[in-house]
Chain length 411, copies 2
């Protein structure tokens, strides 16, 4: 067991521990937000044929080379085809076929003219301009070429990715199975919101915060409720979690006192402790263990501490289990809007939101930075990295920021 | 009916047309991603009492004013309390109470010392340092003050927002009802992925792309399948959509030719057309109508055109219906990574992804910009605004970009 290790070491231990879960197939309607378990390669060109991007007339460019206002060319309309239909006839010199948007280009034609740009007289049209060959023709394979990689294994299925998969005629989408996460809150002081208020007690928020977080990551949370500060009860609850889930997350009971029981409970059930405490603030108090290849993450009971530890350490591990290619938070460069008046003997992460000011990324702090303050996680999408031994931070200072949430929410 | 109007005018027409849907209440477990329909105000302080942030001993600061290594102060331990429990005794001069993390501060105490920092001898402790009053005490209301606004009506419920709501003991969360969106694809050329491939046909992607898009926005898509290019059939399908949904979105059949039937179908069912065509590329071909206060949005059949129109026009309207306070995409300043080699007689939006380069927001184009190209919507989270009459764009040029997707995906 390693104690008080660096964040990067802890991240590496957790990422080395896990791999992507099993694979399954889901229908197109169920695939949004899931992670592709196989590369999707185009089996054919999209579109699979040359087609018209507009309503007009298909013809041979050479037939209208001389066409002008003063020297119109007359062509005979021999057929009319809508999208989804194939011309029965081939074009020969002096003829044209009317085509609708999306219709396949008839054999023999190499140019389409907008219907507004010609004059139709019965079964003839009058063309008064010339066009280069291939004008107004969407070539076969314009969107996707046969054999092209549409989306790689490990990609989250966004709306356009799903659209591309559908356009290949794929009905069943190969995805990784969802990670199941058992969530347990420990602490004699905790009440569920369904319970009546009592002196000395607080309502439990962590269970709900993490349940929401797992849902937003596209995973399956299994909330197992509150367990009192009792080593045996905690051990039993963790065992229960290991039975129903791929990962167990607990909050509370991981610091250094008489009632910090999660570590002892983890030992009791025969799990191997991987590390205890990470050298950062908030989120330092934490125990990571493993049993039957299933990670057990004991996080702090302090709401902000546990969320920061989740974002920096647990989420990357869960993303790897979910099959996602990108796991660690991006680290970007940004400028501080406001200063921070305390020096940081320890390595520290400050909660903030990212804003675009005249093209520059700028961070505003989202409020009080104490471990127990959940409020400052609201709107927080970056964590400003403050190396150990830093002095106060000045407004305008250039900093590194770890991206942990949706930036478009505050931009 | 207005024709060929500016994007901003079209946005305004649509936003003026709609308002937030009804309100309902959901459990904490169902609330993630929903939109608050009422302000949430704190009915009490969180935490509701002063508490200890660590395992240690609570005492009176005045008792240890003189304490030092050479002049230790001895205090009698009169009680021991865990989190969730209340001290039975009050502190008097010369006494201390052992407190665990999260425990309420006993009456009479105004300071807590870490247990590692004192020496315990039977029922006494030896203190060798002085501490200022209020040291190591988390004050009542540190996270949230009574009466404080926790989250405003119109806020999307993120994990920390949900946690704060739970910490107030609220079980039923007031949210707006989900917007229901009927999605219809029109076109003789379309096949569902479940159908066999046939010449001249293409697999329909729009239905799936928009279904996914609505899900990601936290709304309820109702996919109604493909309807052929037949005015009566389209009218019937739109009527069906109006019966089951709050909004109807169609793709295809909205340009200018013989087979552009959505506008006629909308007239047939007695809907009022609001506008036709928006002065931008892609996404220009579009018809907006309303019947029984329900918007009908007829978008282009071209995948990229319809997605851009959706992001810039339809999504803001849907967000207002969903009750979200922020509706229109943020417009930010950014620098182009690459140039764009065409001039733009029309107002244009180019698909790109946003990146942080040394603190500066930078846009990379996501591929070919033709209307039919869905591929370049993959990874696209910003649309670069190119005003009408612009020449070619050079790498390094400062541009405006509309934020339409998750930035943290590409940052």
């Amino acid at each position: 067991m390693e104690v008080g290790i660096a964040l990067e070491r802890a991240q590496q231990i957790l990422l080395d521990l896990v791999s992507a879960q099993g694979e399954t197939k889901v229908s197109l309607f169920e695939a949004t937000g899931r992670v592709l378990s196989q590369d999707i390669q185009a089996g054919e060109n999209i579109p699979a044929f040359d087609r018209s991007p507009l309503d007009g007339y298909a013809m041979r460019a050479e037939d209208i080379v001389t066409a002008s206002q003063n020297n119109p060319v007359h062509l005979t309309v021999i057929e009319e085809i809508a999208a989804g239909h194939i011309a029965q006839k081939a074009l020969s010199a002096g003829t044209t076929i009317k085509v609708m948007t999306g219709a396949p280009i008839p054999v023999g034609a190499d140019v389409v003219i907008k219907w507004e740009d010609v004059e139709r007289i019965d079964q003839e049209i009058k063309v008064t301009q010339s066009l280069k060959s291939d004008s107004n023709i969407v070539p076969e394979g314009e969107d996707v070429k046969k054999g092209e990689l549409i989306a790689a294994r490990g990609t989250r299925i966004t709306p356009p990715v799903l659209g591309l998969i559908a356009s290949l005629g794929i009905q069943q989408v190969p995805v990784f199975t969802k990670v199941k996460i058992a969530i347990i809150s420990t602490g004699d002081e905790l009440l569920d919101p369904s319970e009546e208020k009592r002196p000395g007690k607080i309502y439990n928020s962590n269970l709900y915060t993490f349940q929401a977080h797992c849902l937003e990551l596209g995973m399956e949370p299994i909330p197992l409720g509150i367990v009192m500060d009792n080593q045996e009860a905690i051990a039993e609850k963790i065992s229960q979690g290991l039975e129903v889930a791929d990962v167990v997350i607990t909050t509370g009971g991981v610091s250094v006192g008489d009632y910090d029981l999660v570590q002892d409970a983890v030992n009791d059930i025969g799990a191997d402790t991987l590390f205890w405490k990470v050298a950062m603030k908030p989120g330092s108090a934490m125990v990571a263990a493993v049993k039957d290849n299933k990670p057990i993450m004991g996080l702090s009971g302090n709401p902000a501490s546990s969320l920061v530890a989740f974002d920096l350490l647990v989420a990357p591990m869960l993303k790897k289990m979910q099959g996602l290619e990108k796991q660690l938070p991006s680290v970007i460069s940004a400028v501080l809007s406001d200063g921070f008046g305390k020096s940081s003997p320890q390595r520290r992460f400050l909660r903030g939101s990212l804003h675009n000011q005249g093209g520059m990324d700028t961070v505003k702090f989202t409020g009080a930075q104490a471990n127990g303050v959940l409020k400052s996680m609201v709107g927080c999408n970056v964590l400003v990295h403050v190396p150990a031994g830093s002095g106060k931070l000045a407004a305008g200072e250039q900093v590194s920021a770890y991206v942990i949430g949706r930036i478009d929410d505050t931009y």
